[in-house]
Symmetry: C2
Subunit: 657 residues, 2 copies
């Protein structure tokens, strides 16, 4: 009799091998981290003596589940911000938080917490993309899980790299350190084509090819991404990565919600793997991936939970179930993606998508011993039918729950026994996670405390503040602006004309100030529409000071290019009120006695006002300078013949005819 380390005995073995063999009253013998025998219980127990025997009578023995796409450290951000649009969520909450909090320790802790949840739910292998991936590797290996772990590479600064060159260098070190590890497959993870340059995509590919490691990337997650790709390069997203040669590498493409049949063919011919993430795709309203068509083309499609910050859990039972039922509606065919195929995607096919097809994903002699045991004779899965051999897959996929998993083995090591995690100190991880969440809460709370801090949190590099002295006056029909422009003390430097479309966000506490989203559209001499530019300004209602002649000193506390859309800012700031102002503005940059002033002649279009207005203003930087400029503005009003009666203190927004 041969001695082996471990035998799982009794219970029905769901092999998920090519023949989909089901072995009632079966057993799996494990030694040296490998599966050495799969068969009937009596037969196995006759041939092997086990140092340890797990009785699985009445349960199912299955291959460990494969989570084909996730970001495990983000488990620490679960439920931080939900029900937001992708850009508000990402730019407004996730990225500012990541910039502040993501450290090696954060990544290790988040990975540990995620591994605890994944093991708890029967997952033995996962594919990850995040920062400080060497710390993800360290924590995953300690937890005993198998991982294909991709170091993220973006063209922007990230928590672990100032540039993509630095990220690539980090990635090389990571690969060198971890390749050959029995559990960890290091990988290169260019975040997405749109967040990389062609150059960085090429260098990622070269690195993946040099070390023969997988390349993980987000592909065609949203229609917006595809439209942009077509606009920018005339290529679909898959055509784009193909054009830089990326598909020569072992590519695992996550999402692929919006890809064509031709793109599927390309991915298939080049042997790429795909990761389908139905919960994340639905929750972010990205769409429904055409999984039935992908499978029909013979693609290797796995199933992924995506990160817990967008899911909000790492439950492959829910993900399998959703994949199966969503595909039916997508294909308009209730026989599409039957339960067995969904389980296949979460096991053998998922392993193939991760380029681990020879290593894991099914219970077959020679594969590594990644095995789980689950109960199905439970209340929510009773009664049991046996007539149709597919009933067993139906029980697993349509009514099985993460909590039904009782035992988990990875690489022959027992990670969970009778629902008790053996490799992770869950309590301490939960405590530390809660401490971080409290800090993140405090950080976001402080930031949300004022409109200004919210603005600063998403501000670009070119934000600034300014002080201006300014006067505004009603311009009667007789007033001739030329009197000022042709005055000997005046030199006109520049003349431009704009349409200005302002949207003001007002808040319950008016002391917070107002956020103005302004779109300036250039208008040419022939009224032709020119280039547009959007800026964001935070103004406080109170004027800093008033000089003689109603010349006011105002303070804009924040000015920056508006890099996002009006809709983004609306959802981010959630103003209590919104007002619109549109005007036609002729603007002269003049030197008056050698000092730069701006003269605006405005026609207010929305809300329509019958009068025209003139504004004279100048930037300032000291009280003394402001006072001198106020004097000059006063002189210019004199040249124009504008008296105190025509000066207005109201903002346009306040005026009505």
């Amino acid at each position: 009799m041969e001695q082996v380390e471990l035998i799982l005995s009794g219970g029905q073995v769901v092999t998920m091998n090519e023949a989909f063999d089901l072995i009632p009253d079966g057993a799996v013998a494990i030694n040296g981290g490998k599966i050495v025998a799969v068969g009937g219980r009596a037969e196995i127990l006759e041939r092997y003596h086990a140092l340890k025997l797990i009785d699985c009578a009445g349960k199912l023995i299955l291959p460990g589940l494969i989570n084909a796409h996730t970001h495990v450290p983000m488990t620490l951000l679960r439920g931080m911000a939900d029900d937001l649009r992708l850009d508000v969520w990402l730019l407004g909450y996730v990225m500012p938080t990541e910039r502040t909090f993501v450290t090696p320790e954060f990544c290790e802790l988040g990975t540990t917490l995620a591994c605890a949840e994944m093991i708890r739910g029967g997952i033995t292998t996962f594919a990850d993309m995040y920062y400080f991936e060497e710390h993800v590797a360290k924590a995953a290996a300690a937890a005993g899980m198998r991982g294909v772990l991709g170091q993220s590479i973006l063209k922007y600064p990230t928590p672990d790299a100032e540039s993509y060159e630095e990220a690539l260098a980090r990635c090389r070190v990571f690969i060198e350190a971890w390749r050959g590890h029995p559990l960890i497959t290091p990988a290169v993870a260019p975040h997405a084509p749109y967040s990389n340059t062609d150059e960085s995509l090429r260098r990622c590919t070269d690195l993946a090819l040099e070390y023969d490691v997988p390349l993980l990337i987000h592909i065609a997650e949203t229609k917006f991404e595809v439209d942009n790709s077509l606009n920018d390069s005339g290529r679909t997203v898959v055509e784009h990565i193909d054009s830089v040669g990326m598909l020569e590498a072992k590519v695992l493409a996550a999402h692929c919600v919006h890809i064509t049949k031709t793109e599927m063919t390309t991915l298939g011919e080049q042997g790429a793997g795909l990761a389908h993430c139905p919960t994340s795709n639905l929750k972010l309203a990205s769409g429904i991936a055409p999984v039935t068509a992908m499978l029909k083309q013979g693609l290797h499609v796995g199933i992924g939970t995506d990160g817990a910050a967008s899911n909000n859990d790492l439950d492959m039972f829910e993900e399998m179930r959703l994949a199966a039922i969503l595909a039916k509606t997508e294909a308009n065919d209730p026989t599409a993606l039957p339960a067995r195929d969904a389980l296949l995607m979460a096991t053998r096919q998922g392993a193939a998508a991760l380029f681990l097809g020879d290593v894991t994903g099914s219970l077959e002699v020679g594969k590594r011993a990644d095995v789980i045991v689950m109960e199905t004779d439970v209340l929510h899965n009773s009664p049991m039918f046996h007539r149709d051999p597919n009933a067993i897959y139906s029980r697993i996929v349509y009514a099985g729950k993460a909590n039904d998993v009782t035992d988990v083995i990875c690489e022959g090591r027992i990670l969970m026994r009778e629902r008790v995690l053996l490799t992770i100190d869950t309590e301490s991880a939960l405590r530390e996670a809660q401490a971080i969440a409290a800090k993140v809460d405090a950080f976001l709370h402080a930031r949300e405390a004022s409109v200004l801090s919210k603005l600063l949190a998403i501000g670009g590099l070119r934000q600034s503040e300014s002080f201006e002295v300014q006067v505004k006056a009603r311009l009667s029909a007789e007033d001739d602006i030329q009197r000022l422009l042709r005055h000997p003390d005046v030199e006109v430097v520049q003349q431009v004309r704009y349409r200005q479309y302002d949207t003001y966000f007002l808040f319950a506490d008016s002391a917070e100030g107002r956020v103005r989203f302004r779109e300036d559209v250039r208008v040419g001499a022939e009224n032709e529409i020119g280039s547009a530019r959007a800026r964001l300004t935070l103004t406080t209602p109170e004027k800093e000071r008033e000089f003689h002649g109603a010349v006011l000193l105002s303070h804009s506390r924040f000015i920056a290019d508006a890099t996002n859309t009006l809709r983004f800012y609306r959802e981010y700031f959630r103003p209590t009120e919104e007002r619109e102002l549109a005007k036609d503005r002729s603007r002269w940059h003049i030197l008056y006695q050698g000092v730069l002033f701006y003269v605006n002649v405005d026609t207010i279009l929305t809300p329509a006002l019958s009068d025209k207005f003139i504004e004279i203003k100048s930037r300032t930087w000291s009280a003394r300078d402001a006072e001198q400029k106020a004097d000059r503005i006063h002189e210019m009003l004199g040249i124009l013949g504008i008296g105190a009666g025509d000066v207005v203190r109201d903002e346009y927004l306040e005026m009505r005819d």
Copy 2:
């Protein structure tokens, strides 16, 4: 200090009242089945002394969940047959099984099992539609759950009524017996407009109005149903029920996947409630209900699991989550149906949809005490963020699980305490359920054992079997059929011409016989296409007997009108092979010496054969009659001058040119 029966104390109270009040460290005082106080813990404990106190520290206290649409006895059929098209599933499996197994005992047991699962997952109220609903009521009341229970009414015979008149009579008795019960609201449940007549729909409405009870019905579940409704009556489904006056009653309309904005307005104006069943709709590929639009119109939309035979569980946490994320993709807006709204649908709004808005659905003084306690400081829901008050709804909806519920109270009675069910003997229910499942398995197994038994299981009323004597011969160009037709012993009764399109299903065991799906299309004198008719026949390959002159006695073991499509039968029988045969057939009904015979002249179109063939045949019922008819067929072959060399024994399917 006032004495009350029960206080839930500590923990955060999620009231789901109009103001969505959240009370950290709160308490709920319960007496006489009612909520008598909701507030801060200290304040409640100061005012009330409790006979029993449940410590909820660190947990959430929520209103019990409302399952707005289900068929609880069908829990006994969970996982019996999956991944089938609706008609195959319903007509091929569910209905034959129901005809055989659904009894009062079946309904009580199924209800008990379902109640156990629902209580386990925090559901306190459900709306049901099934047969023997008085037994559903009995079991639900015993389990302590609140139910709006509809006795099903169909125009077809059902397990509990031979006709809709009988079903209506049963329903009246049911209402009389149960109205006024503190937990049970009896209701009328016409299954659907398409499974009722206008008359039965009207009588259902009258009954609901007479007793002022709700009326439960399936509405616009599939596009097919809507198309049929438009074809049949020119009305959409909602227009149809409105036209019979049904919306005067308190209608709870399940599914409403395919309804227009106008139909939503109609439902809203008439105060109908809706039950959204996302898992069932996806799994059966029915589509995605426009929930965002429904909510925008102010409709009361609850969430339902549907029956466990099509879900496959009764888990409102999964259903809430799916409702929330699916709505985002349906509306193409990730901010659609945020977590709080999804929980609202599963609580207060669900109660309103069930016309129990004053009774349950929120934690408010005066409402009945339907309360659940759940943990969220669990691995799969950590860490916790508190900055955004919506985070708590996000935790419940996006990462909460049925298993997180620890305590359930309905009508002030504790149904589950620390995850132990107190009103149901789960073990004995599971044992009995498994015994029934074994019987159903055996029944289906026997039925699937032969093609004939599968046919009989779905057979219509007009099925029959027949014996025929027949001969077939090659017709040469010179052979003149007129020689027979004009013969003095022959009288031509009828002449018709058909195109016959046959699809044969062949099975691995040829002894099973072949199923032939035949579509007869009449062809007129001018080759115009006439009416079509489809029939299903099971023929065995062996001939019963051969007479002289190669006249064969054949036996068709089953003939019936094909009431379903070819596709249905294909998916139901799953043949190993399928063959097509198409022919042009001229057919004469003749009396030869006063006896009826059929003479067919066939041109085989698919597979194309160059020869024409003649068949002469007659029905028979005894060996003696068969022999006499075989003699006459032999004589007719003589009249036509057809010799033994032209007679063919092969079936058309076997022939090749």
